[in-house]
């Protein structure tokens, strides 16, 4: 199995280390041809405005749109912003791959970054402990009917899934546990 990581900018390396430790081979994706034959794609954390800009520069928009509409895709933080149907604060263009409304930098600035345990949604993986590192994180302020919340912080959705697409507003690549990477690999 080969999983791609969008590598235009951001926290690529920690995901690469996680995937490799789980026996998955990794393809860094900077140009459209590198999306070929991938079982899944990770859109990592970073700056969403920078990534949007570089997606345009490197002519990735069309092929990313196609990939994320059908194949297993996981967006983290900035990646979740790129995948959301609706982005605010400020409004910006997105791939519209998952029916959520996401608000950028919604908890505040770096001084408001935090780490916390998360609550799994009723009936989903209740026996495990989940923790989240939130860095200048966005907030999912609305979840459409076709999308399903998996994890919450303070009752608010922080990890949401809709068929092939998974998004999290926190950074599992910065914590010890690999369980969310394992969950994503299971989808691929």
């Amino acid at each position: 199995m080969r999983i791609g990581i969008l590598s235009l900018q951001g926290a690529v390396e920690p995901h690469e280390l996680k995937l490799k430790s789980l026996g998955v081979s990794v393809q860094r994706v900077k140009v459209p041809e590198q999306l070929k034959d991938l079982s899944g794609l990770i859109l990592p954390g970073g700056e969403s405005t920078t990534m949007l800009h570089l997606i345009g520069v490197n002519k990735l928009w069309e092929s990313l749109k196609e990939f994320t509409s059908t194949k297993p895709t996981w967006g983290i933080c900035a990646g979740a912003i790129l995948l959301a149907n609706h982005v605010s604060h400020p409004e910006q263009k997105s791939l519209e791959a998952i029916d959520i409304h996401i608000q950028r930098n919604a908890y505040g600035r770096q001084n408001e970054s935090f780490e916390s345990f998360l609550e799994p949604e009723a009936g989903w993986q209740k026996d495990k402990k989940w923790e989240g590192v939130f860095i200048r994180a966005p907030r999912i302020i609305a979840v459409g009917n076709s999308a399903k919340t998996l994890l919450r912080f303070n009752q608010e959705p922080v990890m949401v899934e809709q068929e092939n697409v998974l998004v999290s507003t926190f950074h599992p690549e910065l914590t010890e546990s690999s369980q969310i990477h394992q969950y994503f690999i299971g989808k691929c």
């Binding site: 900018q9 690529v12 920690p14 970073g46 405005t49 920078t50 490197n58 950028r104 001084n111 970054s113």
Partner: protein, 291 residues
Amino acid sequence: MSEMKLKTGLAEMLKGGVIMDVVNREQALIAEKAGAVAVMALERVPSDIRKEGGVARMSPPEIIADIMEHVSIPVMAKARIGHFVEAMVLESLGVDYIDESEVLTPADEQYHIDKFRFKTPFVCGARNLGEALRRIGEGAAMMRTKGEAGSGNIVEAVRHLRSLRSQMRRLTTLGSEELVNEAKELGAPLSLVQMVAKTGKLPVPNFAAGGIATPADAALCMWLGAESVFVGSGIFKSENPERLANAIVESVANYEDASIIARCSKGLGIPMKGIDIKTLKEEEKLSTRGW
């Protein structure tokens, strides 16, 4: 160490990007539009500090606040070496990173800031491994080479990147008893020396700064192990800041592809003139500030 995870976590998010020096809102908006991952607010860009002389201090709070209000990307700001009150002011303004910077006139010739006392993360400059580990030992969550700011000359950044890299490589070849002596020689905490010996890397992200003036300069730093680049005077002292900013962002993201660097280096006009480092007197060098 949870706090450190949040501090280095933001630096992880800034990897593979370009952080641009800006002195006002207009420049910050140009930087954001060009794809900068963050902006660094300062009173004057290094080449002007060099030209005009005088004491260079933290940027006026109203300018920093104005920049923070108008861009959605992280905003960093510089404090003078050892000036922990400037750092406290920057923390209270809510900047995302504080640069304890040799570009400003040092406030303390003996001590750097105790950075563990702050919630806001710090980036510091270094010329070599010992200096980098001393700063990390004081709580810096991100390192950058010092280079020679405001010179438009990449030679010092290259020297610092290479020195750091070869010193780290050497540590990985030493035995445990040799590391104790090495820590003494480097003037660095043994625990950090042991960490580098094990991984061959700094325990925090390592970026490049000081003298980057062209897309090829930026890519060179990435090849030499920098994980992102800071561009100071280079952009807004060039003939066409917007195009150069775009080109440097594109070049860093695609630093392994020379054909892309060739394409984005076309038509940029005249870069900043630059200074031959050999013509600088020792006291004119910014990189020798701090220890």
